[in-house]
């Protein structure tokens, strides 16, 4: 019995060590990394903007297909309600005072956004945002607002508005700062210094 438990104990002790693997490299913003499929919109529609922008800029916006939006709840048989009956009442609009759904969404086809130039699909949201936030969209196109997803020497890929801002509640929320990786010497885990004892 004892003979059997000892190796087992050892195995248990060593198990976490075996799992400790060094990373290949770090990805610091995994939530914001754009996949190839997401790099869909080009800059063409913005070329008339007053801001001089790079012709190579790619604005990232994931094109939402039907399965991800309406069809997720609406089966197309005209129920008109989500299965849980909540409808869209659970969406609280904490945007500008007095705003309501139809300020941005086409009333009968909410998968479209209304702009002064006509309706645009959801992934083209900047066209709607710009109608109020002209300065921000200008800075976003120029390069001082928003998040660049590509390296400095690569084709410029920037996140679209709803990448960072929830359109229904666009301000970023307060949170605790990130804890930095620290070692408390008393609680040393498997750790190596560069130094080797001779």
């Amino acid at each position: 019995m004892r003979r059997a438990t000892l190796p087992l104990l050892f195995a248990l002790l060593l198990a976490p060590l075996a799992c400790q693997r060094a990373p290949e490299s770090y990805d610091y913003a995994p939530a914001l990394t754009a996949s190839a499929a997401e790099r869909q919109m080009t800059i063409e529609r913005w070329s008339a903007e007053p801001v001089a922008i790079q012709s190579t800029t790619v604005l990232v916006a994931r094109e939402l297909d039907e399965a991800e939006t309406c069809a997720r709840c609406h089966d197309g048989k005209g129920t008109g309600r989500k299965p849980d009956g909540a409808g869209h009442d659970d969406i609280a609009i904490e945007h500008a005072a007095g705003m309501e759904c139809s300020d941005c969404h086409e009333r009968n086809r909410p998968q479209l956004l209304t702009t002064l130039d006509g309706n645009v699909p959801l992934h083209d949201q900047a066209a709607r945002c710009r109608e109020c936030h002209r300065n921000q969209v200008g800075d976003w196109l120029g390069g001082s607002h928003g998040k660049r997803l590509s390296g400095w020497a690569e084709t410029r890929v920037v996140a679209n508005c709803a990448h960072c801002h929830n359109p229904h509640s666009p301000s970023l929320k307060p949170r605790m700062p990130v804890a930095t990786p620290v070692i408390v010497p008393e609680r040393l885990g498997p750790m190596e210094s560069n130094h080797v004892e001779h």
Partner: protein, 354 residues
Amino acid sequence: MSSTEPRRGRRLDFGGFLRMIASDRSPGPAAPAADDPAPEQTPKGSTLLDKSLDRRDAMKALLTGAAAFGAAATAQASIGKSDAEKERRQLEWEEYFKGNYRLMTEQERRETIARLERLAELKRGQRVSIAGTPAREGVLYGYAFNISRCRGYRDCIRACVLENNQDRASTMQYIRIFEIKNGHMSPENGNADYFHEVPQEGHFYLGTQCFQCENPPCVKVCPVGATWKEPDGITVIDYDWCIGCRYCEAACPYWARRFNWHEPKIPRNELNPKQHYLGNRPRKKGVMEKCTFCIQRSREGQLPACAEACPTGARIFGNLLDPNSEIRYVLENKKVFRLKEDLGTEPKFWYFMD
């Protein structure tokens, strides 16, 4: 140029010689003297140095003899040691006599990088790749920090520590984020040790790190030429040439440089294996280090880790010489300022607000 030139950068090439004596391997290729990038210049009018040149030659001859004895003694003493142990000692011996990275030939750079990679494997049992990527042509790095976007989340600091293999035991950090009351303009009135929900009402956040000055005071004071400004504007340190006098730390008006009081400690599962000779390769006790705009990333075309990790887009990084870059847009369209501009250090790190 002459003020930053390492004065005692004479290369002592014992490598090939030692290899012949200490091991039975064939002698390595001798370092070509013809393509030495910066032949040693004797400062004019210094007779003392002229004399010491002769003395230095004499010392070299003496040392070579001592090296031969040393190597023989090492070989003798290491009977019974494992092959890995012998190899490690051999490599450490050769590393000890290498020159300043700036004065090395391409061949010598390749050799020392190969030695360091092998040593990392022998010491830590971890494979790393150390790059020696040179500066790109026509590139001068610049950085802009949006003080109206930063919200003090500190994601940048975490990414920086992970990326640059900083000592975890002493919680070394290159970046500090100051929480400053609205109305104040100096980090001296700020608090970098906050730990509460951010952003706080009535405060703004301002991050500092090495500003890669165009006129860096830290480089001027280095007595051994172990730190210099690269052609792409990044001030780097040769960790193996630094003597740890900390003059640069005192000279920096921005408190950007850090000293290793102890052997840096990095958890095994957190070591970043993608390294650069002048960047994030693990340092040792008694040398200086600092932010290099993540030289191992930026020279590969990536953003520095802090800029990539920033969740608010407050950090803008790019090529100052490219008129289409984001950094140029910021400089041309925003109100920008730098810290302690009156000192004439010309930092390549601007603050701006929307």
